[in-house]
Structure formats: C-alpha cells, structure tokens
Symmetry: C2
Subunit: 472 residues, 2 copies
Amino acid sequence: MSQAHTEFKLMEEEQLSVELIEAQYALKNTKGEKNAKSLLILVSGIELAGKGESVKQLREWVDPRYLRVKADAPHPFNPKQTLWQPYARFIPAEGQIMVMFGNWYSDLLSTAMHVSKKIDDTMFDNYVEKMRAYEEDLKNNHVDVIKIWFDLSWKSLQKRLDDMEPSEVHWHKLHGLDWRNKKQYDSLQKLRQRFTDDWIMIDCEDETIRDQQFAQHILRALEHCPVHPTSSGITWQAAEIPEVLLNPVSESVNEDDYKAELKKLTKKVADALRLDNRNVSIVFEGMDAAGKGGAIKRIVKKLDPREYEIYTISAPEAFEISRPYLWRFWTKILPEEKINIFDRSWYGRVLVERVEGLISPLEWQRSYDEINRFEKDLNDHQTVVIKFWLAISKDEQELRFKARQETAHKRFKITDEDWRNRSRWDDYLVAAADMLQRTSTEYAPWHIIPSNDKNAARLEILRTILKQLKAE
Amino acid sequence: MSQAHTEFKLMEEEQLSVELIEAQYALKNTKGEKNAKSLLILVSGIELAGKGESVKQLREWVDPRYLRVKADAPHPFNPKQTLWQPYARFIPAEGQIMVMFGNWYSDLLSTAMHVSKKIDDTMFDNYVEKMRAYEEDLKNNHVDVIKIWFDLSWKSLQKRLDDMEPSEVHWHKLHGLDWRNKKQYDSLQKLRQRFTDDWIMIDCEDETIRDQQFAQHILRALEHCPVHPTSSGITWQAAEIPEVLLNPVSESVNEDDYKAELKKLTKKVADALRLDNRNVSIVFEGMDAAGKGGAIKRIVKKLDPREYEIYTISAPEAFEISRPYLWRFWTKILPEEKINIFDRSWYGRVLVERVEGLISPLEWQRSYDEINRFEKDLNDHQTVVIKFWLAISKDEQELRFKARQETAHKRFKITDEDWRNRSRWDDYLVAAADMLQRTSTEYAPWHIIPSNDKNAARLEILRTILKQLKAE
C-alpha cells in the first residue's frame, strides 16, 4: 500500500460524512455474504500528534453505533503471550469496524524502548514479520487491516508539550515515554521505520488535514471491495495415505500389564504436565469412536480439574462464524491457562469443513500454513502443542458403533451424523493424510496412534506426551 | 433447599448415566423456550474431600459436550471488583450446564482466612447476603443455581494428607491453606457455616457415595422444572409523571456565554474524571433525538480516547439474549476500565422491552430491584454511577426529526423505528416515570435534564457530573 499524498484534497465535511456513513452501511450489509468483510484499523504514532483527536472527529462523522474504538495502554511483553493474544478478542466480526490504538506494534515499540528487556534488530524484525503474517491471515479471513501512523516532527512535538495543560501532562506521562528526550524520540523514529513501510503516514502539523486524511483513508478502505477467490489455480497434490491409517494395528497388551503400566504412566504424565514451566495444549483428532474421550480421561486421571481445561469442539456458533475460523481458538488458549485439552480442534477446518464442502478449496488449502503459523506462535511463546491422530480401521469403527448402540448410557454418542460421516470414510482419510503431511512440523509434530487396540493406544499416548515434553 | 440424606440410595451406574444424559438433552432443548433454563453448580469444600474426583466422575456419566467446568484458583479481593465480576462471563446460557469450582464463596473464604485483610463477621455476612441476592437474580433470569459443599472431617483430612504423593502435595499447597493446621481448619469450618445453610452438603468419607450424591443432586436439579410466572399478582402502582418530563424547558444561554462556560466545564470534567480514584459509569437515557450523542461528545472533549469507552447500546445479540439481561453489562463494566459512557443502557429493560411487550409484566416489575442491586454493587466497589434522563417535549422531538431529515449527514439518525417509537410517546413517558421513581437511589440518583435547549442541557450535564463526583 503506498501513500497518496499527491492526490489528497480536503472534502466538504458534510460530503465526507455522508460517504462515510453510506460506506459503513454497505460494510454492515456484507455480513454473511460472499463479499463479507470487516475493517481493522491499527493506529499508532508520536504522542500529541493527535491520534485521539482524529478518532474523536471520525466518531462524529460516522454513525458511532457501527464504529468501535479499543484503546489500551501498551501491554508489556509476557513471554507466554503471543503478540496478538491481548487483542484477539477484539478482532471485528464481519460487518464491523474496529479502531485499535494500542496494538501489537505499540507493544513492540514500548517493549523495545525499555532498555531492561533489550530487543535487538533481528528479533525486532522477526516480530514484525510475524505480525505481518498474522495480518495477512486476517485479510485472507475477511478482516481487512489498515495501519496508520500519526507522525509529528521533533520541533512541533516540543511546542505542543510547552502548550499542554498540567493535567494533560500527568496523563500523557503515564502512557508515554519521555517526549522531552531527543535521543528517545530519534530512536523511536528509527525503530518504527523498521515496520512503517506498509503503513499510511499522516503528517500531523495541521489538524484539519490530519483529521481529513485519516477519515478519507478509512473511507477508501471501507469502499475497497475484497475479492474472495475460491480457487488457487494450482493443482492440488494430495498426500499419500500413510499405511498406519489403513492398517492401524499394534501389539496388544494383556490386562494386568496394562493396568500396572497405566497407573505408572498417568502419574508420570500428571507430574510432567505439572512441573513443566511451559503451557501445554494437547489436541485430539481422529474418526468418530477412535477413542479420543477415553484417552483424555487417562491423561487427566491424576490431575485436579482446577489444573486443566477440556474443550469439546463442535460446530461454531453464529458469533464465531462471522470471524476468522481460528478466532475461537485464539481466544481460548490464554497465557494463564496451563493445560488445555482439545477433543477435536482447529483442524476441523481441514477435515469436516473441507470434506463437507463448507469452504472453498482455496480456503482449506490456505489453512495449513495458517495453522502452522498459529502453532509456531504458540510454540515460540512457551506453549507446547502435542497433537494426536487416533487411527482406527473402518471395521473397528463399525464394531464400536454397534457396541455403543447396545449400551444404554453410550447410545447418545451415536447419532445419524456419525453414520453419515462414516459413509464419507475415504474422503476423511484423504483429508487426514493431507493434514498429517502438511501440518506435521518440528515444533508441533503429529503423532499417529494405531488405536484398534484401545489399551495399547492409551499407553502409547501417555508415553508420547512424556517424550514430547522431555524432548523439547 | 434442605438436605435429603435420608432419601439417598445408590443407583445403578448405568441407570444414573442414562438419566443424566436424558436430563441434559431435555435442558438443552429448553433454549429459547418458555421453560428455558441453564444450570449453574457452585462447588466448594474442604481440600482433598474429592471435589475434583466427583467432577471427573460426573464428566464420565454425562455427555461431556454439554457440561462445562470452570475451575479457578481463588481471586484475591480487588476493591474495585464486585464478588461476581470474575465469574460473570462464565454464567451459562440457556440450555447449558456450568460447574464452577472456584466461585464467589471460595474467594470470600480465602480472603477472610488471610489475616492481612481482616473481614469481620458483619462484613462477611453482608457479602453473603449480596451473593444470595445475586443468585436470586440469576434464578429469576433462568439460571438455576445449586451450591454443593464437599465436607471432610479433620481426622480423614489428616489421613489423606499422610497418604498423598509428593507432587500432589506441591500442587495442593499452591492452591490451599495449611491443612495441617487444626486451628485454620476449625476457623474455616466456622466461617463456611455462616453461609452453607442453603447448600447441599456432601459427606466425603466414602468415595462412591460422594460421587453418586453429587451426580444425583445434579440430576434432580436438571429435572427440576422452573416456572416462569408472568404476573406478580399485585396491582402495579404507576408513578406520577414528573412535571419536567412534560415541560422540559430551562433558561436559555446566549451563544457567547455558552462557549466560554463550555470550555471551562469540559476541562474541569476531564480533570475530575481523571483524578478521581474511582471508576465512573455515565448512563444516558431519553427519547430519540434528546441529545445524548451531543452531550457525550462534550464530556469526552478534553479526554483522550484511551481514557474512556463509549458503548452504544441497541438490541442484544443472540448469545446475549440467552443469558440474564444484565449479563452484557456485567461483562462490560470491568475493574480495569476507568470511564465508561453508555448511550442507552440496561434501562432498556424497563423502557423499550417493557413498552414493546418483549417481556412479561412480572419481568419488568422485578427489574427495578435487580438494577438497583447491580448499581449498588458497583457503587460499593468504587464505581460511581451517574445517570441522566434527557427530557424533551414531543414538539421539540418533531422539530429535531425534521431537521435531521433535511441534513444529509444526519439523515441516517432517523429511521422508521424512530417514528414508530414516537407514536408510543405516552407509553414511554409512563415507563420513564416508573423508572425514574424506582431506580433513583442515594448511591445512583437520576438526573433529569430539561433538554429542549441543547446548550443549556449540555452545561447542566457537565455541572452535574462535577457535583456528583465531588458530592460522594
């Protein structure tokens, strides 16, 4: 996105307002439609440049009911928190506009400016790269992002500081740096230049021009019609189906050995999870009746429910559907939650959503990278991601379905949907094979567990958790 | 609710499971129906009594997809936080079941047990009374609440401590008191007796009985059919309509005086809001076009958007409708948010919802007390609630509607709905009069502002804010 200084012309206020409101209503009406989008506006800049004033002026020109403003003081870096985590729950739903000042860039700047937690240039650039990738994922999932930097020269800043009311001084001090310090000003400017090349720059010497530039850029962004292509144009290279998925057998264990080993392992796993300083997210995927619930039960055997959270993931609700598909997981995996277990997960995107045709080929094809980035971010911020595919054979599934139907308190586990899914067994195999190949990474490898023998599978899962926790 | 020890019989596990699952499904199907309810289960008790084990066992008997468990370490009291605030967002929606261990009672106990923040018996009882009132409000708004105390004798507790694995000792120490200290145990028992008379008591000497009692009590609660009466049976005593609502005139100010005074007052208000150590919530209600937006603009004139949040309240979304009507405000007014401004508010309950017949007479009649309790809780926890009713005459409204229709960028403010509301002017007047009378309290008084003259109204609002902030 390049600047358009040369094109800039003041508009009649009334005209600007009418066009903004019309664009807002048009955006609002895209909700749930093919051209759906939301707009996220990241605002940062030099203190006293007038970000706040411009936002207030914008609020007067638009219909304020459909513009949300989220303004936070910077969040100091938390090693267990990805840069986007503090903001994830404010990502706008389709049809919404969100102005975020206070965002991942201001956190990065404010952390980098504090000498005590030195961030060198390489790390800084690495953070920027990650944030851009995150924004790209947002855009691909219907959240348009524009970034606006409010700039102010050193001289004007000093003049504004001179003219400030005492009570404002107090407030600005709380939230900013020492803006009287030329060295700090210069290093901030130098730092922000490492990321502002894809930002809209607003020169804030003149207030009227500033407010109009801000509003006009937003107007243009609102009017921008996103195209959501449905095909990538490339021929999809399906992965080969791993042998273990077709023939998921393992050596069986006798009941006595199983019990003894289980007792030992559940205790070891509880200890390992407890004593690890990192957070842990354990993901279970697999065909219906593959044994996900039973495995989870053994993992938490020696834990207290206050130590973990189990999420059973089914179809998203309306307010989740109108946001990026990872959003409901962004907002669940939190720095303060030590152990999360997912009975099905974000992989629904490339399994059920793909197989049932709920999304376009381009969408599921793009999801592998998005998911990998998500897990990499978690891994980089001290969350271990342990993923299990429980593999059973089609015959074994049938046996289990029938057994469930014959047991009164297990009957609820079998629904028409399960039989329908079963009829798509081969499609699910194909989808699973692609998923296993494309999202098995060094930082979050898939563990395929042959699960025709329940007991053997459970022991294997517990051992694998121990292995991954120690290996890293 | 009294105990039913004498009736207790062990059930066949299979039978218990089937009945629990059926009851879960029945509950789920009440969503959006006349008999809608959700179930909130508060769990507390003596450490090692086996709360966690019972919850895990319950999870195996029920369909775990429809049972959420929220388990937190106690939240230390924060003077700006009401007791229910940390838990508000986990209040279950219609059709849902939520087990909360970690709840307002465990916070109260853990705070009271720490000598450094001494809570005397009167304060303690006062807290309990407030929590019970909150639970009553939940029940009246379709959230059934049951409270279960897991008890364990001193002797058994010591034995279980002796038998504990070292890694468990570590974990229990983090979250509990010193359970080897008889004096602490005794004072905890004494304290909890101040509130457990309406709790279900579970004796935890025997694990099987414990798990079954827990599950059976939940089964009974699930099967309990709430009756949602629609009439209170009493004849409603309508309030007299205050003269100022019928004739909302005030002395007008000339433009020069207005400008000078406005400049002075906006600065004073910004300073007062900033320097006050409490949080502030400012509520605007009034007929359409009464000037709410314009007044808000003046309040924030000298503030930076990072210092406040403006909520424009319209009809609730689906996920909000399936929870108590105050829920969306419980989750918005947070200890860390210094200044909240509401352009319309929770009073929609006794205005639009009443006038449009969206709720039963009993519901709106009960809401006044619920709202008063809500505001009292906020006030008791350092949030000042400042409420404005902007009064205009029906003729003045017509003038403003027409002016809006003639101004391009204001036209969006006028919709068919506004004209429809206008046709119900008298009904709204009656509702407003009741509201003003019944929810004007010492801790959160209504300020009725004659607003036919916009400028005079704005100055009056600013002055009133200063007055209420200083007065308290």
